[in-house]
């Protein structure tokens, strides 16, 4: 059994599509938490004020909304463009089924 396991390990390596997807998923999670860590504190720090206070504004939008939502939204589009066109790998997605795997399935 152990010998059979070693044989498989010698014959196979991690699927590059799996490794690339995993790397991309980790980068996506990091981006998500960076934006979460920016947007919520900025909006709460500048926007959560007592009722009746004057609201500072930029271009007709409350300043907290401008800096805490609109600006990061624009930045998110650039980050998404970087991720899609410069970071994400163009992996082949066709089935990699090979006859040896069928033998493994039967064994």
């Amino acid at each position: 059994m152990a010998q059979q396991q070693n044989e498989h390990e010698d014959q196979y390596e991690f699927d590059p599509v799996y490794l690339n997807s995993l790397r991309e998923a980790i980068v996506i999670l990091i981006i998500f938490f960076v934006f979460l860590g920016y947007c919520i504190p900025v909006c709460f720090y500048f926007g959560n004020r007592p009722s009746g206070d004057e609201v500072p504004s930029l271009f007709g939008i409350p300043a907290w909304c401008f800096w805490g939502v609109l600006v990061p939204w624009i930045v998110a589009n650039f980050v998404t463009a970087w991720f899609c066109f410069f970071y994400m790998k163009n992996d082949p997605l066709e089935s990699d089924e090979d006859p040896d795997l069928d033998q493994v399935n039967q064994s």
Binding site: Y12, S21, C39, P62
Partner: protein, 592 residues
């Protein structure tokens, strides 16, 4: 408004052109299918979606009636703080499409899967898991389908209310319903509703709703049944353009109209709309709701909850996962993610701006759910282009249609492919499956319409309940199935069932304690704690009280359910055997 709709033939004509275009696309896609294998083409479009089709079907399916009816209503009611509530849409394309798409597509190709349960069944070699996931999809989707039917019919009522033909149909339905309801049979449940008179101040009554439900059902069910997945995708593309077109036209008009009213846009609009007091008119945000807030701003944990909810719940909706199986190649995926990112930027933040303007332009609107058609009427009236209102009203209608047709097909594929073909008759011929598929799609569509005849009261609550429920059940099992070779079938079943139970328990507790659809709130937890104060030590009482004070129990049930689903998955996985070697080799390795 009335004056506008008295002259609404132009608007109706624009709308009719849109509906005709939808049918034309369905017919074309039906022709396309004749040359292909039925099941793969009908439910997955032969895995050949290009960039525009994939991007817009994903975007349009995710944008339901909530985006164009419920969300504008919330913005009108609560003001700018809704920009933060919806803010994580800036990352939805990246997270929802980037996190799982490539792996799901690869899994589907390796296993020949055409549904989500197909993938899970093959990844874990567990018919039980396949069946559980099918049942959960059907359970949640049917609820959602009924809610979408109602939303579509309500929008149609706005457009047709002043048309003579519609008014005649309305009175015929009302008199027929009165006659049937008088007999006191079981049909009274449905027809008793239709026999009621319109409420004061409303243009159409329940009978009008039934007429619109019938028109809406015939439209959507017929084109979905005939055209299948490709029709749904092609019409989604059209609907996607209609939605963004409507918003892009409305934004400059709304800003111009506010200026015409003499507002200094640089400061007055911000002040007028930034500090609106929350009211209880809409419970969509009470998970926990903004009504907990003292100064009109979002409660902190609500903002955090929804930042997670929009992104990760979108990633784990089975209807979105089906689309992830259908794109052509990786290049299509990367281009589509960017396209949807720009698309959502053109929709969601502009909606916040438009309906903050609506607060200035229509300050005394009582029924905030009608703010979208009211704004469409007002703006097109101001520029004297009534035909444009047809396009603007078509935008929310398109949003409902594009979501509903996808859900309809999803339920149909679950019944035909995941239940009948796998469990009842694995040797069914293509002809039998084709016949059954058409019948199932028709039956589910008309069945949901019958259920919507006496419409559910809590429309948005149902949409949130089902969306969060599916996400809680599927996010952790699917994520681990795709990325963790050690993940096994026992852990997948436990995390899926665990997530489902926690979600349902939180909602059931909310229902029992508050008498309405929604999860238990911090106040409920405090009441429960108060009841048990005598039977616990002061230390424990203080501890639980301080936990409630942090606001953590008020997190969205999606986050609580997902957290427990995650813990259960890891615990059960390490307590049980590793998965079979051949499964791990198939999905995580290639030959050197």
């Amino acid at each position: 408004m009335d004056k506008f709709f008295n002259n609404s033939n132009a608007a109706l004509l624009t709308f009719a052109v849109y509906i005709l275009a939808v049918f034309l696309l369905a017919i074309l896609s039906g022709q396309f299918r004749k040359k292909k294998s039925f099941l793969s083409e009908y439910f997955l479009g032969s895995r050949s979606l290009g960039m525009w089709a994939f991007a817009l079907t994903f975007a349009a399916t995710a944008s339901s009636g909530g985006s164009f009816i419920g969300f504008p209503s919330l913005v009108y009611t609560h003001g700018w703080s809704l920009a933060l509530w919806i803010g994580s849409y800036m990352l939805v394309p990246l997270v929802a499409m980037g996190l799982f798409s490539k792996r799901i597509n690869q899994f589907a190709r390796k296993s020949g899967a055409i549904t989500v349960p197909d993938i899970l069944l093959d990844r874990f070699k567990s018919p039980t898991l396949g069946l559980i996931s099918t049942v959960l999809i059907v359970f949640f989707m049917i609820f959602n389908l009924i809610a979408q039917f109602k939303a579509g019919s309500v929008i149609l009522q706005t457009l047709l209310s002043e048309i003579q033909l519609f008014q005649n149909a309305e009175s015929t339905v009302q008199s027929t319903a009165e006659a049937i309801a008088k007999n006191g049979s079981v049909l009274e449940y449905f027809f008793g509703f239709a026999a009621k008179l319109p409420e004061a101040g409303q243009a159409t009554g329940p009978a009008g709703y039934i007429v619109c439900l019938l028109v809406f059902t015939l439209t959507v069910v017929i084109y979905t049944t005939y055209g299948g997945f490709r029709a749904v995708v092609w019409t989604d593309v059209l609907q996607g353009f209609v939605m963004v077109g409507g918003i892009v036209v409305m934004l400059p008009l709304a800003i111009w109209a506010v200026n015409e009213q003499g507002f200094d846009l640089s400061s007055q609009l911000a002040n007028q709309t930034s500090d609106l007091k929350y009211s209880s008119v809409n419970s969509y945000t009470t998970l926990p709701g903004p009504s907990d807030s003292m100064n009109g701003f979002l409660p902190f944990w609500l903002a955090v909850s929804f930042f997670f909810f929009w992104t990760f719940a979108s990633a784990s909706q089975p209807s979105n996962m089906v689309r992830m199986m259908a794109f052509k190649d990786s290049k299509t995926l990367s281009r589509a993610i960017f396209t949807v990112s720009v698309y959502y930027s053109l929709i969601y933040f502009p909606i916040v701006m438009i309906f903050c303007c609506a607060r200035v332009l229509l300050p005394d609107l009582q029924a905030s759910d009608r703010v979208m058609p009211e704004m469409a009427a007002l703006l097109t009236q101001m520029i004297e282009m009534p035909w444009l209102a047809g396009l603007l009203v078509a935008a929310p209608f398109a949003a409902v249609m594009s979501t509903m047709d996808s859900f309809l097909l999803m339920i149909s594929s679950s019944i035909v492919r995941d239940i009948y073909h796998k469990w009842i008759n694995p040797n069914a011929s293509e002809k039998q499956l084709k016949k059954l598929t058409y019948m199932t799609t028709l039956l589910v569509g008309f069945g949901a319409a019958v259920a919507a005849m006496n419409p559910p009261q809590f429309l948005q609550d149902i949409i949130v309940f089902t969306g969060a429920g599916l996400a809680t059940c599927f996010l952790v099992p699917v994520a681990f199935a795709l990325y963790w070779p050690r993940f096994n079938r026992q852990a997948a079943i436990a995390s899926m069932v665990g997530g489902f139970l926690i979600h349902v328990v939180l909602y059931a507790a909310g229902w029992l304690l508050n008498g309405k659809m929604g999860p238990a709130t911090a106040q409920n937890y405090r009441q429960i704690l108060g009841n048990y104060q005598d039977s616990m030590s002061e230390g424990w009482y203080q501890f639980f009280n301080s936990v409630i004070d942090t606001g953590l129990p008020s997190l969205h049930p999606f986050l609580i359910g997902t957290f427990f689903s995650f813990v259960i998955a890891i615990f059960v996985c390490y307590c049980t055997r590793r998965p079979e070697r051949e499964i791990v080799l198939k999905y995580f390795y290639v030959k050197k």
